[in-house]
């Protein structure tokens, strides 16, 4: 019975994915035709994700999900292999898996661990290095103890792949239909080292950054979520000067922000307004523009400086750490910020926003359209971490089989949210429910408390299925979905040199970046005048900025068969 149910679950899951795509791009009706379904069946999951973007409100997406469930009952194209029979599971072998950061293991996550062991014969134990993980990994490799497989960011993968640390997957990957369907064509080149492929790349969405506001403050002031730059400045002004919280004190700011994953000050929306971000490169026609010394970047800083000079920006924006940022948010010290999409939900689920700000409402908005008519947020890398198998590991097929299963609907849910019945439920009618917790008290839907999660067993993200578990009743879930959609749907500022690397880039860029960051702060604070912009550009070039760009350009030209050249900055 359990076996039958599992097969059914898989079939329904597959149908759900496909019909979600079709429901979202079509009229939103549940009666998607069988022809459309089979057409959709030939498309990859990527298309599903992209088309799902059409669902721009949570309402539409809920409809899509409902439609998907209904459609799943009628059409059930079997495009995926079934989960292996538990009884027929291969003999278990111990495998070590390297992940940079350990997550807390619990009895709950152990259920997933046991499931993987029973079905795939992989007795997984994790090796991680906390904040010394790069050194830890170097030690393991040089000591001959390279883990069975490693989940690594691209940079570390390149380094060790070029030294021959991993099994060549170029040919055998073709035996795994789900993996081949999962990885989009633009990602394979990203994991190609010397013409061979040594890793399975994970996927991600590029749109991550979101601008959020205090809706209750906007209401108090009789304002709307701003769309144009003029409206935005008015909101910033009113949040700062018009006592939006009505406490009679001049103690609020319009804008504040956390720092991003690399410690950068988050000006992503301002970069989007001018189409230039400090670490990006743009190819216009045949000419490559280095954003860090471009006119657009300068204008972005001038725009932000203007808000800063008017004191609409939290003066601690350049120095504060995450904790201070969250404290100010839940204490109502600022009314808007640009942040990672899940911060909107995190305010409710992790930092007690509702309890601290009774009547307070956070809402996301679209990326503000800049003075020149451009808008957007800087794009994140659509490639997540890579999974590479050790050259020493005797049975790479066993790992690939597991990864192949991880990219199926059922496999993704089990590996990410916990085993069926505990992490999610799927009844015979195809009704899917996630029990996964976003509750501030970490209460699962069945009432048990869980800290930690089985997410560690999910090495390949299904970004198309991911939003499903955000469709819930709690405010944190709703805000998570809102943030996700907002981030996904914002226009994106792309880096044309994304994923390219060179020796010069690795050696010189850290110093250049330090200089650029320093100058950014000086320009905004007024310690350095914009009259000295040319001196800044000169220093950028003196530090080796042109050589780095040239070296990346060589990669770019070779890769795309282009013949672009760097703009003349001398």
């Amino acid at each position: 019975m359990g076996m039958k149910r599992r097969l059914m679950a898989l079939a329904l899951g597959a149908a759900m994915l496909l019909s979600m795509a079709l429901a979202a791009c079509g009229s939103g009706g549940a009666g998607g035709s069988t022809t459309a379904a089979s057409e959709a069946a030939t498309t990859t999951a990527a298309t599903a994700a992209t088309t799902a973007e059409a669902a721009d409100s949570s309402e539409a997406a809920t409809t899509a999900a409902e439609a998907a469930t209904t459609a799943a009952e009628t059409a059930a194209p079997q495009t995926e292999t079934a989960a292996p029979d538990e009884a027929a599971g291969p003999e278990s072998i111990p495998v070590t898996v390297f992940i940079a950061n350990a997550r807390v293991e619990s009895d709950f996550s152990n259920l997933t661990k046991e499931y993987v062991n029973e079905n795939f014969g992989l007795d997984i134990s994790f090796i991680s290095g906390v904040d010394n993980w790069q050194q830890k990994y170097a030690l393991l490799v040089s000591g001959g103890d390279i883990p069975s497989f490693s989940v690594l960011p691209a940079a570390q993968y390149y380094e060790y792949a070029s030294q021959g640390a991993y099994a060549d997957l170029t040919d055998i990957r073709n035996n795994y239909a789900n993996i081949m369907g999962y990885v989009t064509d633009d990602l394979w080149p990203r994991v190609t080292v010397d013409g061979r492929i040594y890793a399975i790349p994970g996927r991600n969405t590029a749109g991550k950054w979101v601008v959020s506001y205090r809706q209750d403050w906007l209401d108090n002031l009789g304002l709307k979520v701003p769309v144009t730059y003029d409206e935005y400045v008015e909101v910033m002004r009113a949040f700062t000067e018009d006592d939006p919280d009505g406490n009679g004190a001049n103690d609020t700011y319009g804008y504040s922000s956390n720092t991003d994953a690399y410690g950068n000050i988050i000006l992503h929306m301002f970069y989007g307004m001018y189409g230039a971000a400090p670490e990006y490169y743009h190819v216009v026609g045949d000419e490559v523009e280095i954003d860090a010394v471009s006119e657009g970047y300068k204008q972005a800083l001038i725009t932000f400086k203007d808000l800063y000079d008017k004191k609409y920006v939290d003066p601690e924006v350049f120095t504060q750490k995450g904790e201070q940022f969250w404290q100010k948010l839940v204490q109502g010290k600022f009314g808007s910020w640009v942040g990672w999409w899940s911060e909107l939900s995190g305010a409710y689920s992790s930092y007690g926003f509702e309890e601290s700000q009774p009547g307070g409402v956070l809402v996301s908005g679209p990326a503000v359209i800049g003075p020149t008519g451009m808008s957007g947020m800087t794009a994140n890398d659509p490639m997540d971490t890579t999974v590479a198998i050790s050259y020493k590991f005797e049975d790479p097929d066993r790992v690939l089989k597991y990864l192949d299963w991880c990219t199926t609907d059922y496999g993704y849910r089990v590996s990410r949210y916990g085993v069926e019945g505990k992490g999610f439920t799927l009844d015979a009618n195809g009704d899917l429910d996630y029990l996964y917790s976003r509750d501030p008290d970490r209460k699962m839907a069945d009432g048990t408390t869980v800290e930690g999660d089985p997410e560690i067993f999910c090495f390949l993200n299904r970004i198309d299925l991911y939003p499903q578990q955000l469709l819930g009743d709690t405010i944190a879930q709703q805000k998570a979905y809102e943030g996700y959609v907002s981030g996904r749907d914002n226009p994106l500022l792309l880096n044309d040199f994304l994923g390219l690397t060179s020796e010069e880039f690795q050696n010189t860029m850290p110093d250049i970046k330090k200089y650029v960051d320093e100058m950014l702060v000086k320009f905004v604070l007024g310690d350095e005048s914009f009259d000295n912009w040319d001196a800044y550009v000169k220093e950028y070039i003196r530090l080796g900025g042109l050589e780095v760009a040239e070296s990346l350009l060589a990669e770019y030209n070779a890769f795309y068969g282009a013949s672009a050249h760097i703009k003349n900055y001398q």
Binding site: R103, V104, G129, V130, G322, V330, S349, E451, E455
Partner: protein, 291 residues
């Protein structure tokens, strides 16, 4: 003796001094208080207060959770074992090594000392160190946390300097009475060096309790990890740098639970500190000045 009367200036100075020291004390103690209060409060309370002074509740839920978390109690046990066994081992080796090196008539004493001191300035680097530990078969054993770190050169120099200051006539008279070196060491030198022994013991114990790097480098399996590793893992999870997966900007671990874990980690070593502190201060002075 005539009673001494303080001038107004002196009284003022004393008062200001007391105030100033009290301020320093408060600044120093507040982080501890903050963590302790946070660990029994609700998450919303922690973030809604600018300055956390009093808890909104006295909930032990966070402690219950931490104690019940897989691996925490065994990690505490590991830490305790590493601290006790490691300190005993270190003290045995350090005192004996220091005793030998403190003898002026030891042939080649200067050269030997030089060889030892050089390790304070230069070392072979991380990877060779790792390979040595690996070839000795200590990877994934609890001994990797102790044996490679058994002697701290700095502590041994402190100890050697102290022992050098013990009058040589004590040793000579014991010799006349027929005592051999081990007896002299155990019955005369050790009892005389209690201050420095207390100091160095404390150095070692605190070092072992707090050590995290060897655990990260030398332990792959989780059987022997100390509590510090778990603490670090939990604290790092909400940081944006830990952002490997698409949903990581929000923490999976509540703030009050992190604080409870900090209390559990810090408390055992903080508790023994005051008892040894009187020796601690005196010991360092004695060792260094007379050296």
């Amino acid at each position: 003796m005539k009673s001494y009367r303080k001038t107004p200036g002196e009284t003022l100075f004393a008062a200001l001094n007391t105030l100033f020291m009290a301020f320093i004390l408060l600044v120093t103690l507040y982080p501890f208080w903050y963590i302790a209060v946070g660990s029994v409060s609700s998450v919303a309370h922690i973030f809604s207060q600018g300055m956390l002074l009093w808890p909104d509740q006295l909930s032990l839920a966070a402690y219950e959770f931490v104690i019940g978390t897989k691996g925490v109690s065994s990690a505490l046990g590991n830490s305790a074992f590493i601290t006790v066994a490691g300190t005993l081992l270190s003290m045995a080796l350090t005192t004996m090594g220091a005793y030998v090196l403190s003898k002026p008539y030891l042939p080649g004493r200067k050269t030997m000392t030089l060889f030892i001191v050089v390790t304070m300035l230069f070392n072979g680097g991380l990877i060779p160190f790792y390979l040595v530990v690996k070839s000795l078969g200590m990877i994934d054993t609890i001994w990797a946390m102790m044996i490679p770190y058994a002697i701290s050169t700095y502590n041994m120099i402190i100890m050697r300097n102290f022992l050098q200051a013990v009058p040589r006539s004590l040793e000579e008279s014991a010799m006349v009475d027929g005592a051999r070196h081990f007896t002299i060491f155990a019955k005369i030198y050790l009892p005389l060096s209690m201050p420095v022994i207390a100091t160095v013991t404390l150095f070692y114990a605190v070092g072992y309790w707090n050590s995290i790097i060897p655990a990260i480098y030398f332990l792959n399996r989780r059987d022997f990890i100390p509590i510090q590793v778990i603490l670090r893992e939990v604290l790092i999870q909400s940081r944006p740098e830990a952002l490997q997966f698409i949903d990581s900007a929000t923490s999976q671990i509540s703030e009050n639970i992190k604080m409870a874990l900090v209390v559990i980690t810090v408390a055992p070593i903080a508790v023994i500190y005051p008892f040894l502190q009187k020796y601690f201060v005196k010991g360092v002075m004695v060792g260094s000045i007379k050296g």
